[in-house]
Each structure stands twice: as C-alpha cells, then as structure tokens.
C-alpha cells in the first residue's frame, strides 16, 4: 500500500485537492457565477437555490454551516466569496466563520461592486490571482489520521445492500484500522436499526444520541407520510425484494462497516472524534452529500444500483456500482463494479482494489464524476420559504 499525500493547511487540516472556490451567498446572483465559470473554468464555481427567504434559526444555522463548511473545506485552497448585499445571511455575517482558515480569500458584493457585470469582472481577476498564488503549493505526506472519508448510497437497488454497501463497509473497517475517520448520514435510512447501531456506540451517551436521532427521523416520517409510513420504502424497493424499512436500512448502514461508533454529529458539523462517526442528516443524496462535505470529508464513496451520476463540487466521489449491468450501462460514470461479488469475486480482493483506487484518487487521479463535471450542490432546509 503506497503512501498518501495532500496539501497541508495552516489550521492543521490536509486537502487532497487544491481548488479555487467561487461561492455565492444567495441564489439571486447565480447568473454572475455562471458568467465567471465560463471565463475561469479552472475554478470551482458553484450555484445553489438557497441563501434567503428562510429566517428561522435552524435554517440559518444550516445555511451558515454549509457555506462556511465549503470555504473551510480542506480541499479548497482559496475562495472568492460573492454576496448580493440585502440577503438574510450576507458576506459580513459569513466572514467571522471563515476568516481563520489562513487561505486566500476575497469578498465582493454585487450591490456594492458595480452590479453583476462589473462584479463578475472583479471576481474573474481575483479568481485568476488566487489560482496563480496557490499553484506553487506542493503535496506532502498525509497522515492517515487526518483523513475523513464519507460513505453515501443513492439510487439504490436490491443489490446495493448485498454487494456495494458490503464492499464499502469492508473499506470502512479497513480505514478505521488505519487510523482514518469514516462518516455516514442518511438518518431516514437508519430507521429500524436503532438497536443495532446503539449497541455499537462507544458509550451510553452516544447510544442515547443514536436512538434519539433515529427516533426523530421515524417520528418525522410518520408525521409527514401518515398511513403511508409503512411503505416509506418505495414500490421499486419492494419489487427488488426488500420487504421492510428495517431490511432496507440494514443494507444501507452496512456501508459504514462494523466498528465502534464514536460520535454523532449534527448536519454539516465537523467531527472531533476519530473512527466511525454518524451524521444526523437526510437521506436525499444531494442534501446528504453537502452535509458530509461541510463536515470536512476529503473523499466520498457512493454506491448506486439504479445508477446516479451525481458528484460534489469540492471533493472526489468514487462511484460504486452494485451490479454489473448498471456498471456496463453507465461505464463512464462508474469507478468500481461491486456486482462482481455475486459472480465469485472474493470480498477481500474487491476491498483491496477499492483501497488501491482510493489511494490513487487521494494522490490526484480523477474519479469519473470529477472528469465528467457531475457536480451537484444543494442542501437541507427545514421550513418552507416565507
């Protein structure tokens, strides 16, 4: 197993990429971002549908945590932050949360910097300057205990929980053994497994947090779905042979492996513990990925059986197909074929191959989602807009 490398940040974190991020606080200026992305394709220019209209404390907490989490993300080498000016959580609110990163940062506001066209010009110049500034940074040895890997599943089929998530679970156990940290979320997909996960908690407090988190997810599902709660697994799931939510959930949580659960973190919160971490986040892929990214995951494994191409702007996503058919049908999107497990491939061999690929990706090899530019950026909200 070869060594891993990354970019050391002044706050002690390590990135496995050195991106320049162009980030808007609010959706009203997405057009400005699109203009910039055409001019500076080397920068990661993200747009989103949020940033105003939701003034409740929980939505503001999530918004600030996700936006600051992206700027603070270890894979980001520098940022141009763009605000509009009148939005509910503007650049001045965000600044205290991000100024300690020690990374190049420039801030513009469309209402103060001459409107959309002139602001775009200023940002283009700033982004190019930061690209140039950080291009001299070199990779150094990355200690395994500075690595946080996220495990995600989406567009699942009946084989996801049999092949892909089992293989990712083996990788998770291997990573924890190496001293790295593994995180997974999707609380709705833990329903029915509270007894299994709580038993693996490092102490009674973490066990209680696990039970409360899954209890809240279950209550919310029943409130929203009513009598339909028992079919919260979709008809497609049932056609695939999954009979209950607990069965579907077991196949889902298997992706985190079998080690002790050391911490439960909130959506987008940065873990303080090592080993296996659970995140109290939703099952919807896009929202879940943003929470796991804001927690500082440098890399993500993502299993899929139906075949989703989704990646994430600042982190490499390794796509693991659960069956050979979808691996072949979406060859340009899939990095690993876990379907080979039902064709006689040994689990430990597949795990070793996935670990090798992961090391290459950490050291700079691009995943299919990176090559194809399949970035998705959206995040959780808890209330409708006012």
């Amino acid at each position: 197993m070869s060594d891993i490398t990354g970019y050391e940040r002044k706050n002690g974190k390590f990135g496995i990429r050195n991106h320049v991020l162009v980030l808007p606080t609010v959706s009203c200026i997405n057009g400005v971002i699109q203009r910039i992305s055409r001019e500076v394709p080397e920068a990661i220019c993200v747009t989103h549908a949020h940033g105003c209209g939701r003034g409740g404390p929980r939505d503001l907490e999530i918004l600030s945590r996700i936006l600051s989490g992206l700027v603070n993300h270890p894979n980001v080498g520098g940022t141009v932050l763009i605000g509009l000016g009148c939005e509910i959580f503007n650049t001045k609110n965000l600044l205290p949360l991000i100024k300690e990163t020690g990374k190049p940062l420039e801030v513009f506001n469309v209402q103060e910097d001459g409107g959309s066209l002139r602001t775009a010009e200023k940002v283009i110049t700033a982004a190019r300057r930061i690209l140039s500034e950080i291009s001299s940074q070199r990779r150094v040895a990355l200690p395994w205990d500075k690595l946080l890997v996220a495990m995600e599943c989406g567009g699942s089929d009946a084989m996801s929980g049999v092949t892909a998530n089992v293989a990712m679970g083996a990788v998770s156990d291997w990573l924890v053994e190496k001293g790295a940290t593994v995180i997974f979320g999707e609380n709705t997909e833990m329903i029915g497994t509270a007894h299994v996960l709580a038993r693996r908690a490092k102490n009674a407090e973490v066990a209680k947090q696990i039970e409360q988190m899954i209890g809240r997810a279950e209550k919310l599902t029943q409130e929203v779905m009513g009598d339909l709660a028992s079919v919260v697994i979709s008809p497609g799931n049932m056609d695939g042979g999954m009979s209950t939510i607990a069965e579907k959930s077991m196949g889902c949580i298997f992706k985190g492996g079998t080690t002790t659960i050391n911490q439960v973190v909130d959506y987008g919160e940065v873990p303080s513990e090592h080993g296996l971490i659970l995140q109290d986040g939703p099952g919807y892929d896009g929202d879940s990925m943003a929470g796991l990214a804001a927690s500082g995951s440098q890399l993500m494994f993502f299993s899929t059986g139906r075949g989703t191409p989704a990646g994430f702007p600042v982190l490499p996503v390794i796509k693991v197909a659960s069956n050979t058919r979808i691996y072949k049908a979406m060859k340009d999107d899939m990095d690993v074929n876990a379907g080979r497990l039902v064709e006689g491939q040994a689990l430990d061999r597949l795990r070793a191959e996935m670990a090798d690929l992961m090391v290459r990706v950490i050291n700079g090899e691009k995943t299919k989602a990176e090559v194809n530019g399949m970035d998705v950026f959206t995040f959780m909200t808890v209330h409708p807009p006012f």
């Binding site: 929980g161 029943q222 695939g240 042979g241 009979s243 209950t244 939510i245 607990a246 069965e247």
Partner: protein, 90 residues
Amino acid sequence: MKDNILIIHPRDNVAVALRKLEIGEMAVAKGIEGFRALEEIPASHKIALRDISQGEEIIKYGETVAVSTRDIKKGEWVHTHNLESKRWKK
C-alpha cells in the same frame, strides 16, 4: 455448481437469490447443503434457509428485519405476503 443464492451473515434464516429460481430448482451456496426452491423466487428476493414458524423473526445481515405472519417452509419465497415490519404494521 455455481452459487445461485447468497447468505450474507451466518445467523441469517433467509438468503438472497442471485438470479430467478424456478420451482423445484436446487438453491446452492457455499457452506450449506443444496435445497429445493418450493416456489418461484424472483432475482434479489429472499428464500427461507430453514422452516420459520409464525411470529418468528426474519434474520438478514445477522439482524432482525421483520417478523413472519405465518409458518414458512424451507425453500419458500419470503416477502411482504408472509412477513410484517416490527416497526409499522401493514
């Protein structure tokens, strides 16, 4: 003969069909004696690895995923028609 069912955990009382099994076809997996499918088992669905009584837990991944609503014979298809969720009743 090639495996056509997968036993995920040694505690499990159901296995996953790796392809569609016909009535009377031998179900084969490493570490167990082959047995006949008593009915057609759709691909990726569950087949009973032993007789399961009414009210007994259905074990997959080494954990309880459902409870049987009637006696199930070894080799029968196990799905929503003969089990229910422990959490939410159908």
